[in-house]
């Protein structure tokens, strides 16, 4: 008699979100730089922000931080990021 197994693996499906189109230019765009709150993240993002302003003429830069790197970003942080053109999330150690 054939053996039948019960699938022990995850079968939960989450609807995939389509990636937004790539930005053609950064000039004049609003960017959010999100620090995940590991030590050194701000050092990296400060430099990145400088480069984005100097070389790519970005419009506005929003700086946000996760309360802790150990957990997913809370809804309240995601809400603050709605409407920006792009988000850069960065970590450092």
């Amino acid at each position: 008699m054939p053996i039948t197994l019960v699938n022990p693996m995850n079968e939960t499906t989450h609807p995939a979100a389509a990636a937004p189109p790539r930005l053609a230019t950064l000039a004049g765009k609003t960017l959010a730089l999100v620090d995940i709150s590991k030590p050194g993240g701000a050092v990296f993002l400060d430099r990145l922000e400088g480069l984005l302003r100097e070389r790519y003429a970005v419009g506005r830069v929003i700086r946000e931080s996760k309360p802790t790197f150990t957990r997913p970003a809370p809804e309240s942080l995601i809400e603050k990021l709605r409407g920006v053109d792009a988000v850069v999330e960065a970590l450092a150690d």
Binding site: P2, I3, L5, V6, N10, E11, T70, S76
Partner: protein, 514 residues
């Protein structure tokens, strides 16, 4: 937002004549989804509870789908133009208004709050609706109410229902004739150790040991949030080699591991060593054969080995933190095969861990601690308590990194011989913990300006004198150190298990009744 004492505006269906609970909901709000079973309980199984009126801020179709998937049993009214929402003005969803028979607001609750829900149930003369140990957080903030969102931001893509009550039956996999079931499991399920093939018959045997419905979702396992139905838990328990009776421990353990305070999301994804250590207390140790004596950390008993292994398989197979993928641990931890001990209450001179944490001695409990592998402490010559405890402080000083203080915790597993020596000198368990707290410090001279880990935060550390030496105190508080007694009767050894990042921003120890 309407406040206590204000008259409530009208609502379809009316609220006059009897007290009612009006709750504003969004179909894509995870906190609203989380709240549904509790609101169902407020409404009562057979309409014998409170009158609960849900107000959905989303479309009829989204609301119908939401009600079906979350198994909401109370009336849900639509608010398509958000007129009701504007009149009641909840700041967030879920927002709950308890309204008296005359339509006056007598209580409000914003977000999910177990104490608040139980208080409302009590005001209505109903039994408690929120169990502290069901795996859900004590509190969870919700989302902004739709009518307060900026115009145009409320466009819904397909709402993601993350808190449905049940999931479909697990898929059945019929093997080809001649296919070796063990080889199939190794090839397809991909575990590093052989498993017991989860045949339909074995899983059914496991399911007969619980009264829970197979399709009930016990928890969603981070970091990929796979739904742990009772059936999926049973299939993994079979693979781990558990006896069916182990389901009574495994179900609360799965709830506990998904308790947000434990933060298994971070524990599973970190580059650090941490792995969940299970500590079993109470009568269930004897009933199911948990070992608490010699070789307690190793392969001494089926119960310990299979419970720890079942938990790990569930984390891997349903949580998705595979050791070659999302589980990014740099060096790993042998505890990721299985890590489960029981407290040797019979050889302990002190109250057991679960009693210390507020449970009764006749209750059984499982405690989870995100632990590094054990550091052994040998102390065979110290004549008394102070000498044994001082030896333990030297291992405690190395938790996380020698000079890193304040942000870490430790579980000290005291061997029975050490425990006897310590207690003989009159130390209670609290005395022993206090001694360890007071005497574990890092000499200030070790902070010699090289900028290494732990030195940058030295300005935050508390400086104390330990045996005349200026030191930084290693731990934040007495509660950063817990003690359990375990191990064999012979051998003057103890073990120190360091934590992952501790506290609300890391992982907190959780204890659930069995």
């Amino acid at each position: 937002m309407l406040e206590q004492g204000q008259q409530s505006p009208s609502i379809p269906g009316g609220i006059s004549g009897s007290p009612a609970v009006v709750v504003f909901l969004e179909t894509d709000c995870p906190t609203c989804q989380l709240s549904i079973p509790y609101l169902n309980r407020l409404a009562g199984d057979e309409g014998d509870g409170a009158r609960v009126i849900g107000v959905s801020q989303d479309s009829e179709e989204a609301t119908r789908e939401f009600v079906a998937r979350t198994a909401a049993t109370f009336q849900v009214t639509l608010d398509p133009d958000l007129a009701i929402s504007r009149a009641w003005d909840p700041v967030a969803v879920p927002s709950l208004f308890l309204v008296d028979a005359a339509g006056r607001v007598i209580e409000t609750l914003i977000g999910f709050d177990k104490d608040g829900l139980n208080a409302i149930a009590a005001r209505l003369g109903l039994p408690q609706v929120a169990d502290a140990y069901d795996g859900a957080p004590a509190r969870k903030p919700g989302c902004a109410s739709r009518h307060r969102e900026p115009a145009g931001s409320a466009v819904l893509s397909a709402p993601v229902v993350v808190h449905r009550a049940t999931a479909p039956q697990a898929a059945r996999i019929t093997l080809e004739d001649g296919e070796d079931a063990h080889e199939y499991c190794r090839r397809v399920f991909g575990d590093a150790l052989p498993v017991v093939p989860p045949t339909v018959e074995r899983v059914e045997r496991m399911l007969r040991a619980t009264s829970l419905a197979p399709e009930s979702i016990i928890a969603r396992i981070p970091p990929c949030y796979g739904e742990a139905t009772v059936e999926k838990i049973a299939a993994n328990a079979v693979m781990a080699g558990c006896a069916p009776e182990m389901m009574r421990v495994l179900i609360p353990l799965v709830r506990a591991v998904c308790d947000e305070r434990f933060n298994i999301h971070g524990v599973q994804a970190t580059t650090h060593f941490a792995a969940p250590l299970v500590v079993v207390n109470g009568p269930v140790r004897g009933e199911l054969g948990f070992a608490c004596g010699q070789n307690v950390f190793s392969n001494v008993a089926r119960a310990n080995s299979t419970l720890g292994r079942a938990l790990q398989l569930i984390l891997l197979n349903l949580g998705g933190a595979r050791p070659d993928g999302i589980d990014m641990s740099a060096l790993g931890n042998p505890g990721k095969f299985s890590c489960c001990i029981a407290e040797n209450q019979e050889r302990s001179p002190w109250e057991p861990l679960h009693v210390e944490l507020g449970f009764r001695p006749d209750q059984s409990a499982v405690t989870l601690f995100a632990a590094e592998p054990p550091r052994g402490v040998s102390e065979h010559t110290a004549p008394g308590a102070r000498g044994v405890l001082k030896a333990i402080t030297r291992a405690l000083a190395t938790v996380w990194s020698y000079r890193a203080c304040l942000h870490y915790e430790a579980l000290v597993v005291v061997g029975p011989e050490h425990a006897r020596t310590i207690a003989r000198d009159g130390f209670s368990k609290l005395d022993a913990r206090r001694f360890l707290f007071d005497h574990t410090g890092i000499p200030v001279r070790a902070y010699d300006g090289d900028g290494g880990e732990g030195t940058q935060l030295a300005h935050l550390y508390e400086q104390v004198a330990i045996d005349g030496e200026p030191c930084y105190r290693k731990f934040r508080s007495l509660d950063s150190i817990r003690i359990v007694v375990a191990g064999g009767a012979a051998g003057k050894f103890s073990a120190v298990l360091g934590s992952w990042g501790a506290g609300p921003r890391g992982s907190q120890m959780v204890t659930y009744p069995v």
